[in-house]
């Protein structure tokens, strides 16, 4: 049985492209539903039995969920930054990957909102943050911006849905998709505005904690330096995550979907931004060490608690910062696909590690003489409910790839 023998399936697959057999597609969708179901059970446990089913406690109010939240939001930064480069800077070649960046962005932000829905414990009160907005809180700004930006991403995703082979036959939807494409620069500009502030404010949250010398930073006006570092790190790693997911998709589909020059543009821009980020982050760290030391919090005290030894600093800045930056800056290294993908993995892992350090480690370091360091590791409920969104994301990407015209160069690269 091939896709052509299942009429309802082949009728909605984009014209002129090949997809796997329908039975295999259903098989992999079913396989992904296994771990997804475990995640659903974990989420129901959190809502039904409250958060004491997790290992979160008063020492660790921010655990895996918040670190993962900040991580996926940074990785989803590829959507707004690719949109910015395509529609505002007008790098025309990026039109061949911007659709996929949007799909990845939708999934990242849906995951972030979903994780928050589990994390707040009582989702029925989730609307409180909007209704009783504390405008002085950076987290309120983050909540507003993430929600609005998710709407922007859904609007950016809408023309892709409307361009489905069957949907596009209807005149109204065809016209709607066309006009949405025309309006895309304005939508992208709104997305850039929202992303700039919520990516930054996520960094601002630890940066304003003056009772936590590990996290606190001085800054510019109301924004601590971490505000700007978070924006820079998000735009440096977002394109790498887009490259990484595109590569995984190509491996699964066993065909090339995007030309090398398009990938190279993203990798080059990402490398330059990452290099700037690593330099500024190093300067910030050196300045922070001197200031915190004078304030009575020597460097050794931050790395005295296992497992958070000095290796954390070396890994974050060196292995997951400097190495991918050097690889991405070298044109020769970028040409080697395996090396490029290793750089992308290191870059994305570095962002996750940075978010973990800023939200989990920085709050765990004892600051009072009577405080004791307590270790934290997430339990299966936290892991399952977080990974649930990875499986949902994989399913949405599989559906989008199969039924929507996401890759404009696919036909050219794979002539039938």
């Amino acid at each position: 049985m091939n896709s052509a023998s299942v009429p309802f399936d082949s009728a909605v697959i984009p014209q002129g492209v090949k997809r796997c057999q329908f039975k295999w597609f259903l098989f992999w969708i079913a396989v992904l539903h296994g771990p997804l179901l475990v995640g659903v059970i974990a989420a129901i446990m959190c809502w039904g039995l409250a958060l004491n089913v997790t290992y979160l406690n008063n020492n660790y109010p921010f655990g895996l969920w918040i670190a993962a939240d900040l991580g996926v939001i940074a990785l989803g930064g590829g959507a707004f930054f690719t949109g910015f480069l395509r529609y505002i800077v007008k790098i025309d070649d990026l039109k061949n990957i911007v659709n996929y960046a949007v799909v990845i962005g939708v999934m990242c932000y849906a995951s972030a909102l979903g994780i928050l829905g589990v994390d707040i414990g009582q989702p029925l009160r989730g609307w409180f943050i909007f209704w009783h907005a504390n405008v002085h809180s950076m987290l309120t700004e983050v909540a507003f911006c993430i929600t609005c930006y998710f709407m922007v991403l859904c609007i950016e995703y809408l023309p892709l849905l409307l361009e489905n082979r069957q949907v596009n036959k209807l005149g109204f939807f065809h016209g709607m998709a066309h006009h949405l494409h025309e309006a895309m620069p304005t939508i992208a500009a709104v997305g850039v505005f929202l992303s700039f502030f919520h990516q930054g404010s996520l960094g601002g949250v630890p940066g304003v904690l003056y009772g936590r010398p590990f996290a606190y930073r001085e800054g510019f006006l109301v924004w601590p330096w971490t505000f700007f570092l978070f924006i820079l790190s998000a735009i440096a790693c977002g394109p790498c995550f887009t490259i990484l997911i595109t590569w995984i998709t190509e491996k699964c589909a066993r065909k090339r979907l995007v030309k090398r020059n398009v990938i190279d543009i993203l990798a080059r821009i990402s490398g330059r931004l990452l290099a700037v980020y690593v330099i500024l982050k190093t300067l910030d760290t050196v300045y922070w060490i001197s200031v915190a030391g004078k304030a009575g919090a020597p460097l050794g005290s931050f790395y005295a608690n296992q497992p958070y030894g000095y290796w954390v600093l070396i890994t974050e800045l060196g292995i997951l910062g400097v190495i991918p930056a050097i690889i991405l800056l070298s044109a020769k290294a970028r040409q080697n696909e395996n090396v490029l993908i290793i750089a992308c993995i290191l870059n994305c892992a570095g962002i996750f590690m940075n978010r973990w350090i800023m939200t989990v480690q920085s709050l765990a370091v004892p600051v009072m003489s009577f405080d004791k360091f307590i270790s934290y590791h997430p339990n299966w409920v936290e892991f399952a409910s977080t990974l649930m969104f990875v499986w949902v994301g994989a399913i949405v990407i599989m559906l989008s790839y199969r039924y929507l015209p996401i890759f404009p160069q696919e036909k050219e690269l794979n002539p039938s």
Binding site: F130, V135, E141, C148, G175, E182, A183, T186, F193
Partner: protein, 52 residues
């Protein structure tokens, strides 16, 4: 949150914050409606041309 149930505190940050939120939401609503109306008008024009 909504203007009819808004806590009207005379504070600049509040107006900037909520003002930006409403500016974004209104922009998105206008864009969606503009695209839908244009698509609808295109459809009517095409039908008229087809009839002629």
């Amino acid at each position: 949150m909504f203007p009819f149930a808004f806590e009207w505190v005379p504070e600049a940050t509040r107006y900037v914050f909520m003002g930006s939120l409403y500016a974004v939401l209104i922009t998105l609503v206008i864009i969606l409606h503009y695209c839908a109306i244009r698509a609808f008008l295109d459809l009517i024009c095409k039908k008229k041309e087809h009839n002629h």
